[in-house]
């Protein structure tokens, strides 16, 4: 229920009314400049890409668990679509595995999580939460979505070109990336250029919007933490992506114009006379300069979403709002000077490794502070265990595991043993998969009623949660053991060449138990995939058939996004809201209800 005082009409109301002619279908839904439509466009597209990325991994896991055996169900389809070099007799070749692996990472990170966490939720929620009529630059907003789609299409098309998609990992290290025959890598670079452009335009829009379009009374320290999280994320994208763009341009030059930015002297490359004189390490520095802030881009919006849901479902203010804000700012700042902890094994030298190790250890502090504040916010709360809350609660220990397991990787001496093993995969997936993705699911269930006017089914939400939670842990927990036993990443056959069965009499082989975990993990992945079916059906079914909400503020939340009509009209607020209080005034003593909206006088 919107609580706008109507003491005087908006000065431009009359002129405005004549502007709003009826928009056609294309204008309203395809070429929209409304942040809510764009947010939903981003959301649906990103969820589809997440599903696709999961599908790639489901196929890869067959090869890991049962190497060189034909894939059931999809094997013959793969052969038909991608040719017998890639998938002869339905068996996944090692090169196909590599390209699926590279694209799984790329798609999940750049086409899935970042658009969903930053662009989708940010677009839909941020203008509403700050009391703005839209983003500062609506047409740039549309352009950024379209750029994203083009980038995604280029990535998808690359699967079908001769030679297949990129195969040099999502990290695209030179000289491997440059010296591959075929154009898969070139398509990858072009796709990345469009995705980077999309992110940059989005970042400019978000930052300008938050700086300029906060409603009267919405001071910086009254912003919901979600907005702060998006603000810091915007800065990370703005300043960290361009060096990767520069590196992508240089790698494109290496590939197409036969330059040697990243190719050292003495390298033999078939079919081209190269000058040499370049540096493979230069690529790594430029890539990870983005790569590290990128992971904070993946986690900060998720922390923001969890914060909003925790406050609302504990019916009490968040503990340590200021600490949360300052920690987010410090994380943003520090994230730019930790990147080379991804490069400990490149022989940089101990002095510089020490520098990065130190900054890496320091950056864990604000992350722990944020997690602690969120945990402490539960104490004494009147907790409502609805589906969004279940996912938000699960985020906390899952992110905790992910974060803590990062510490041995942050130390140079232990990373020597763990680098490029399955331990790393387990660590970052714990943070992103049962971490960020759970927070994003929570966000979908939470804001679905605001966008559609209906709840998603609570029963199927709990089924989705329970199954996902169990299988996520079954997928990633064993990988810690596998990694510590020495199982390396990116092995299409699951490491069978290094198993004790295949290397009798050698020390350090992978034991039968460790090898068997491959089957456990693969089975869990397939079950995890099946667990998403209730979510997909629930999502689409509830749009038309979900239980209708009783009011515009069904969760009884305090933030401005819940003080609008449902769904919010074009322009969001009939009259500019005026903010009088902080974002989490729940259970204020003496108040008639247990929540006080921000714009209540």
């Amino acid at each position: 229920m919107s609580t706008q005082a109507t003491t005087h009409a908006h000065p431009h109301a009359d002129a405005h009314a004549s502007d709003h002619h009826e928009l056609g279908f294309l204008q309203k839904y395809v070429f929209s400049t409304d942040h809510k439509i764009i947010g939903i466009q981003y959301g649906v597209t990103a969820l589809l890409f997440l599903l696709f990325g999961l599908g790639l991994m489901a196929m890869m896991r067959w090869s890991i668990a049962y190497p060189n055996q034909p894939l059931p169900l999809v094997g013959s389809l793969l052969e038909k679509l991608l040719g017998s070099n890639a998938a002869g007799h339905g068996i996944m070749s090692s090169t196909l595995y590599n390209s699926f692996g590279a694209m799984h990472g790329t798609i999940m990170v750049f086409l899935g999580i970042v658009p969903l966490a930053f662009a989708a939720f940010g677009n839909f929620v941020v203008p509403l939460q700050i009391g703005a009529p839209d983003m500062a630059f609506p047409r740039i907003n549309m352009a950024s979505y379209q750029s994203y789609v083009i980038g995604g299409l280029i990535m998808l098309i690359s699967f079908f070109i001769p030679g297949g998609a990129a195969q040099a990992g999502w990290t695209s290290y030179s000289p491997l990336a440059t010296s591959f025959p075929g154009n898969g890598q070139t398509f990858w670079i072009l796709g990345m250029v469009f995705l980077i452009t999309s992110s940059l335009l989005g970042a400019v829009n978000f930052l300008a919007t938050i700086i300029q379009l906060r409603a009267p009374g919405m001071t910086w320290m009254r912003l919901p933490f979600f907005v702060w999280a998006q603000f810091v994320t915007g800065f990370l994208l703005l300043l960290a992506f361009p060096p990767l763009e520069a590196a992508a341009i240089m790698q494109l030059m290496d590939k197409v114009a036969h330059t040697s930015f990243f190719l050292p002297t003495g390298l033999a490359v078939t079919g081209a006379h190269i000058s040499g004189g370049g540096s493979p390490l230069l690529w790594q520095h430029l890539f990870w300069f983005l790569g590290h802030p990128e992971v904070y881009v993946l986690i900060l919006p998720a922390m923001g979403i969890v914060c909003e849901i925790l406050a609302c479902n504990t019916r009490k203010p968040i503990w340590g709002y200021k600490s949360l804000v300052y920690s987010a700012l410090v994380i943003g700042f520090l994230s730019f000077i930790v990147w080379a902890h991804h490069m400990y094994l490149t022989g940089m030298g101990t002095r510089i490794s020490t520098f990065f190790q130190t900054t890496t250890m320091i950056i864990s502090i604000p992350s722990v502070i944020i997690l602690t504040c969120l945990f402490l916010s539960l104490w004494g709360g009147s907790i409502r265990f609805n589906t969004p809350m279940l996912f938000a609660l699960a985020f906390l220990p899952m992110f905790g595991i992910g974060g803590l397991t990062g510490l041995p990787l942050g130390f140079n001496f232990s990373d020597l043993h763990l680098h490029d093993t399955y331990y790393v995969i387990a660590h970052f997936h714990y943070v992103v998969a049962p971490g960020t993705i759970f927070a994003l699911f929570a966000g979908v269930y939470f804001w679905f009623p605001k966008a559609t006017g209906r709840y998603m089914s609570e029963f199927w939400g709990r089924v989705h949660f329970t199954c996902s939670f169990i299988f996520m842990n079954l997928v990633f927990m064993p990988m810690f053991a596998q990694g510590m036993a020495g199982m390396l990443r990116r092995m299409y056959d699951g490491g069978i060449n290094y198993s004790t069965a295949n290397t009798p009499g050698t020390i350090g082989g992978l034991s039968e138990g460790i090898m068997h975990l491959n089957v456990v993990v693969s089975t869990a992945v397939w079950c995890l995939g099946l667990s998403q079916i209730p979510f997909i059906i629930n999502f689409f079914w509830s749009i038309k058939h979900g239980k209708k909400i009783e009011s515009d503020n069904p969760w009884h939340a305090t933030t401005l996004d819940w003080q609008t009509p449902t769904p919010p009209p074009h322009g969001n607020f009939a009259k500019t809201p005026v903010v009088h209080r902080g974002p989490y005034e729940y259970s204020v003593p003496g108040h008639a209800t247990d929540f006080t909206p921000q714009n209540e006088a």
Partner: protein, 279 residues
């Protein structure tokens, strides 16, 4: 509800939206060109002694281009100032000079690129004899040692022979060069060489060495920004000029914002010129 602060500044920040937007965008551009400059430093510091060429670019052309951009910088800010003083005609005249300067810059740059694409390094077989004609017109045969190299522009290119306007490269002397000012005046001669004696030849495109690679990448990206900026300035100057009548404040702000972008482009060149041409 309309989006506020599109023309009038917001009281607490003192800025209108597009100004915040363009400065944020320029911040990202600083990081983009900064990464390329960092790469330049890295590649140059890591190059073996003598491997980093000097004197490949014409300093006068570069200096002219620098001055052209500086002129365009002042005309673009004068154009905005004219609008502030409500003089539309003056704005149009100044901005047209800006656009002419942009075209000038791109023209000179194209000529420079063309010059590099027609500049060849010719590697010869061992023990080859070439015919050298110096300024006086006298021709003499010069026998080159192992791995002789010629460097210059091709005057004639027949089936069996080639005439190059350039020099015979002295690798040892070249390795001594560490500063641009050390480039001694090697006289340019006309050298005739048989095609059969040529082992491999390559022009000074981006592939030739890391210096040309970073040169073409940096200046190419910069040129793309010049093109983009001039398209925007042209669009505001031409097709969008009607907005001056309907919403002069918004129009002036757009001119200011496009001017900021243009100044950034000039700023990048101010650093590119000494780094690539003089050092």
């Amino acid at each position: 509800m309309d989006i506020p602060y599109t023309s009038t500044p917001r009281p607490d920040t003192g800025l209108f939206n597009a100004k915040v937007g363009i400065w944020l965008f320029l911040a990202s551009e600083v990081m983009l060109f900064g990464a390329l400059f960092s790469s330049y430093i890295l590649l140059r510091v890591g190059a073996a002694p003598g491997d980093w060429p000097h004197g490949l670019l014409n300093v006068w052309l570069g200096m002219t281009n620098t001055i052209v951009l500086i002129v365009s910088s002042i005309t673009v800010v004068m154009a905005w100032a004219s609008l502030k003083m409500k003089d539309f005609g003056r704005f149009r005249r100044y901005q047209s000079v800006t656009l002419v300067c942009a075209l000038c810059f791109l023209g000179i740059k194209s000529y420079e690129y063309h010059d590099k694409f027609t500049h060849y390094e010719v590697q010869l077989n061992d023990g080859v004899t070439v015919q050298v004609k110096d300024e006086s017109g006298a021709t003499k045969a010069v026998q080159l040692p192992t791995k002789g190299v010629l460097d210059g522009h091709i005057l004639e290119n027949d089936a069996d022979k080639m005439v190059i306007h350039g020099e015979i490269v002295d690798k040892a002397a070249q390795a001594q060069v560490t500063h641009a000012w050390q480039e001694s005046k090697i006289p340019e001669m006309e050298i005739t060489v048989k095609k059969a004696d040529v082992k491999y030849m390559e022009n000074y495109g981006p592939w030739h060495n890391t210096y040309t690679a970073i040169y073409f990448t940096l200046t190419g990206l910069h040129a793309l920004h010049v093109i983009g900026g001039s398209i925007v300035i042209f669009f505001i100057w031409g097709p969008l000029a009607g907005m001056w009548k309907t919403d002069p404040e918004r129009y002036t702000n757009r001119v200011e914002v496009s001017g900021l972008f243009w100044h950034f482009v000039d700023l990048v060149w101010i650093f590119l010129f000494p780094v690539l041409y003089l050092l």
